[in-house]
């Protein structure tokens, strides 16, 4: 049984933070296997199968924010998480060979979440406070494949103001993951006590006054291309056995091609005396005496974000897969009279280096690093056409796999707006 959706703002209290005592209990089993109908033969993945089990046994206070017309929660509040580890187990069967077993603890923390859904409804579902649900380094679905696969249902949050609500989510959902077909079998009981107001929404304080002297530049992204290649091998000294990666070599190529988007640069005086007058501000900007912050945010097109992996294992057919991935953005910050460029952190996004074959994770290849860097002179940011180039390469040794990586990113920008605020004496 699920609650019927009603307009989320009907007959409830003021905007603010609400809490309800909630508990969940049950099991969610995610499983997958190679599917001939989806081309597993061509991909060399018909012998792949695997899965993991989630035990959403949460209990505590669920914090729900009421924004006036919608209800949302960010994580589970103080509901804690089940301590049972989430373990990915993936099996590779191939005629004439012993079965291979890949085991990985999934660094995730299950949470109960409420998000604004279509038509004003509130959608109740399960997510992860840390990390993403995927097959990790083992063969199986990517985080994007599983993004919508976990059970969810509409919930009438205002009804919780009037009475406790019990729900049961039970059933099976199929999902597709490239050459793999999967299923999520779930049976979860959820209980919510009365919703009560915890804290009224605080008034937003006004933004600080704008600096008197400033430079603002807006660009149109004509094109942004990015390419990362990773040559890897499963290495015994790195513990490849538990990932069934020993004796394998492979290449991961991640490409991103965005045909448009926006970019922006903001500069304010770096400290000390503030330049006065447009000419002085521009001069200070050109000379690198202003603090510069900026971002390049290309338009995301799923067709342009692709991760291709080819895995070779001695004496076997190997594995090939192409999977969609997240995009690439660039951030700018000034340092020592120049502007440093680097990719925006992708730690909060699905792993961009994983397709569905076994292989290294982003954490193995790049760790805390961004993988590429570049610089641009502040004066060049004032040109009508700006080209940003970033690059980087290196060796890596991670869990089970080691190798080399290289990244190049090129962004072509067309300036659309330049505002120089000269300030006052």
């Amino acid at each position: 049984m699920t609650c019927a959706a009603t307009p989320a703002h009907a007959g409830v209290g003021p905007p603010g933070t609400y809490v309800t005592d909630a508990s969940t209990h049950g099991t969610i089993v995610v499983s997958w296997r190679g599917d001939p109908a989806r081309g597993c033969g061509e991909a060399g993945m018909c012998g792949e199968s695997g899965g993991f089990t989630l035990r959403p046994n949460l209990r505590g206070e669920l914090e729900i924010l009421h924004f006036g017309r919608r209800w949302e929660s960010y994580g589970s509040g103080s509901m804690g998480s089940d301590e049972t580890p989430v373990v990915v187990r993936a099996r590779h069967d191939e005629p004439g060979h012993d079965p291979g077993l890949c085991i990985q603890p999934l660094p995730v923390q299950l949470s109960l979440e409420i998000a604004a859904g279509p038509g004003g409804a509130s959608r109740l579902g399960f997510g992860s406070i840390i990390g993403f649900f995927s097959s990790g380094r083992c063969a199986g679905p990517t985080a994007l494949d599983l993004a919508d696969a976990l059970p969810h249902a509409d919930i009438d949050v205002p009804r919780l103001r009037r009475e406790p609500v019990s729900l049961r989510l039970a059933g099976r959902r199929a999902f597709a993951a490239g050459p793999l077909a999967g299923e999520v079998a779930y049976d979860v009981a959820l209980r919510f006590a009365h919703l009560r107001l915890s804290q009224n929404a605080s008034r937003e304080t006004g933004a600080g006054s704008e600096p008197r002297s400033a430079v603002e530049i807006a660009y149109r992204v004509e094109r942004l291309t990015a390419r990362t290649t990773v040559d890897f091998a499963g290495l015994p000294e790195l513990g490849c056995e538990v990932l069934d990666g020993c004796g394998t070599t492979g290449i991961v190529t991640r490409t991103f091609d965005a045909p448009g988007g926006n970019a922006r640069v903001d500069a304010v005086p770096a400290g000390g005396r503030s330049p006065v007058g447009r000419a002085a501000v521009l001069s200070a900007f050109r000379a690198g005496r202003m603090s510069v912050y900026g971002s390049v945010e290309p338009r995301f097109d799923a067709r342009g974000a692709v991760t291709v992996e080819e895995l070779r294992a001695s004496g076997t057919a190997g594995c090939r897969d192409t999977a969609p991935g997240p995009g690439v953005a660039v951030e700018m910050s000034s340092a020592r009279r120049t502007v440093t460029l680097r990719p925006t952190s992708d730690l909060g996004t699905p792993d961009p280096l994983r397709a569905r074959c076994p292989g290294p994770a982003r954490a193995d290849v790049l760790g805390d690093r961004r993988g590429a860097t570049g610089t641009v002179a502040p004066a060049d940011l004032l040109r009508s056409h700006v080209t940003l180039r970033l690059g980087g390469d290196g060796r890596f040794a991670g869990k089970g796999y080691g190798g080399r990586h290289a990244t190049t990113i090129v962004a072509e920008l067309r300036r659309e707006k330049l505002i120089v605020r000269g300030g006052r004496r």
Binding site: V29, T53, D82, T84, V87, P107, V242
Partner: protein
């Protein structure tokens, strides 16, 4: 002697606030951990340094006749376990003074909430007349390696650490940490060099072990790279970016001695009937039990009430059950107990398809969780802590956390704690459905506590507005 740090940190982990002096002296709000040192002694210096970590420890093992595998049912068992500490951690070095003696201890807190936390992975095969059943499991590791005093100006790495669970604990069978402890690397390092930082400590090892039904090899490729240390014993100001209010908080603690623990617990186990659930952990057709004998020769317990110092002391006493009356304004009441003694845990199990496994381990420690809601106190006995987890024998089995939080429990009126001598009988068992196992717990454990003192302390708290 590492007892001070161990006791202190374990006490902190179990939220057992101990002496008021130590609590006030070591409230390290400047550290990343916010540890409240609750052990004996006074912290006089606290240093913290980031650590980059590479490598792992691997245990490769097989059933060994010379070590008694025929008796324990492990002759057809082989596997490997990999402990990976993750890419980073933080070293905390504490100088404490107790009875006029100064001692230095260290502990490495491994990153726990990041992309790649410390983990342990096990793959264990069990032969069945040509057929093989495989148990594959993995999990986060709560280990915290320590640095123990090892002569003047020297510290020794001890990977087995404290507080966390057995380094190699999973739901699969295999040797225990204690079985391979001698084969683990434990290099000595200079305390002065450690304080200077920017130090690389390698822990290479390839050593054999044998005993308790298994033999094998321990290999380590661990390298710890210490970054720049900084002192963190000065009380740090509250983060400037957050609006906070300062207030004085009061902590009232009733301290008890664990006079006696006696009793038994049985955990009856069987595998889940669904092959999809039991097969990954080799629990299909499994029937077994764990018999735990609980005994204590020493131990301590505490019940702590915490809240604003503006709330009258009498309400704190009422919240601890020491007197009648309201406890309004007291924000939290919690407690726990730890004991040590000559307990034992005996595992025995069989599989319908053939095969058996037996294991006997000392259950040297026990712990209670005490929670107060309204006028009732719930007491939960969840086995031991650290390597005293009674379910972690050499045979496969569920995690303690899968048993619903407690082996046995009881609920008593808060007024029970008004007496100086308290007798708790824990007889309420539990049924559980774990990932691959199901079963029940039953038993009868008697715990006698005697109140020794009531201690009060206060500290400056930063509370977000």
């Amino acid at each position: 002697m590492r007892r001070g740090l161990v006791a202190g940190a374990v006490a902190a982990l179990l939220t057992l606030t101990g002496s008021g002096d130590a609590l006030a002296g070591a409230r390290a709000s400047g550290g990343e951990f916010g540890i409240v040192f609750g052990g004996p002694g006074r912290v006089v210096r606290q240093t913290q340094a980031p650590m980059a970590i590479q490598g792992r420890v691997e245990v490769e093992f097989h059933g060994d006749r010379a070590s008694g595998c025929a008796f324990l049912g492990t002759c057809d068992t082989a596997g490997h376990i990999v402990w990976d500490p993750g890419p980073r951690g933080t070293l905390l070095v504490l100088d404490t003074v107790l009875g006029g003696h100064r001692q230095t201890d260290g502990v490495v807190f491994l990153a726990s909430g990041l992309d790649e936390p410390a983990s342990v992975v096990a793959q264990v095969r069990r032969g069945l007349d040509g057929a093989v059943a495989t148990c594959a499991d993995a999990g986060r590791s709560n280990a915290a390696p320590t640095l123990d005093p090892a002569g003047p100006g020297r510290l020794r790495f001890d990977l087995t650490g404290f507080g966390g669970e057995d380094l190699f604990a999973t739901r699969c069978g295999g040797p225990l940490q204690a079985d391979v402890a001698r084969a683990l690397p434990s290099p000595r390092v200079s305390l002065a060099a450690m304080r200077r930082g920017r130090l690389t400590v390698a822990l290479p090892a390839e050593r054999g072990f044998a005993g308790h039904g298994f033999a094998g090899t321990v290999r380590s490729s661990l390298v710890f790279r210490l970054g720049h240390p900084r002192r963190t014993d000065e009380a740090a100001p509250a983060p400037a970016s957050l609006p906070v209010r300062r207030r004085r908080a009061r902590v009232l603690t009733a301290v008890y001695r664990v006079e006696r623990v006696t009793g038994r617990v049985r955990v009856a186990l069987r595998g889940q009937p669904d092959p999809g659930r039991c097969a990954p952990l080799d629990a299909c057709g499994l029937e077994g039990k764990v018999d735990l004998t609980a005994r204590a020769t020493s131990g301590e317990a505490a019940l702590t009430a915490q809240g604003p110092a503006t709330v009258p002391r009498s309400r704190f006493r009422a919240a601890l059950g020491l007197m009648s009356g309201p406890s309004r304004g007291v924000e939290s009441v919690h407690g726990g107990a730890n004991w040590s003694g000559p307990g034992t845990a005996v595992q025995s199990q069989t599989w319908q398809t053939g095969g058996f496994c037996g294991s006997a381990i000392p259950a040297r420690t026990g712990s209670l969780d005490i929670s107060v809601v309204g006028r009732r106190v719930t007491v939960r006995y969840s086995g031991g802590y650290g390597d005293g987890n009674p379910l972690r024998g050499r045979c496969p089995g569920p995690l303690l956390s899968e048993l619903g939080g407690a082996l046995l429990s009881t609920s008593v009126p808060l007024r029970t704690f008004r007496a100086r001598r308290i007798v708790l009988r824990l007889r309420r068992g539990n049924t559980f459905t774990a990932e691959a196992h199901m079963g029940s717990t039953s038993g009868d454990v008697k715990i006698v506590l005697r109140r020794l003192a009531i201690r009060e302390s206060s500290y400056l708290d930063f509370a977000p507005i």
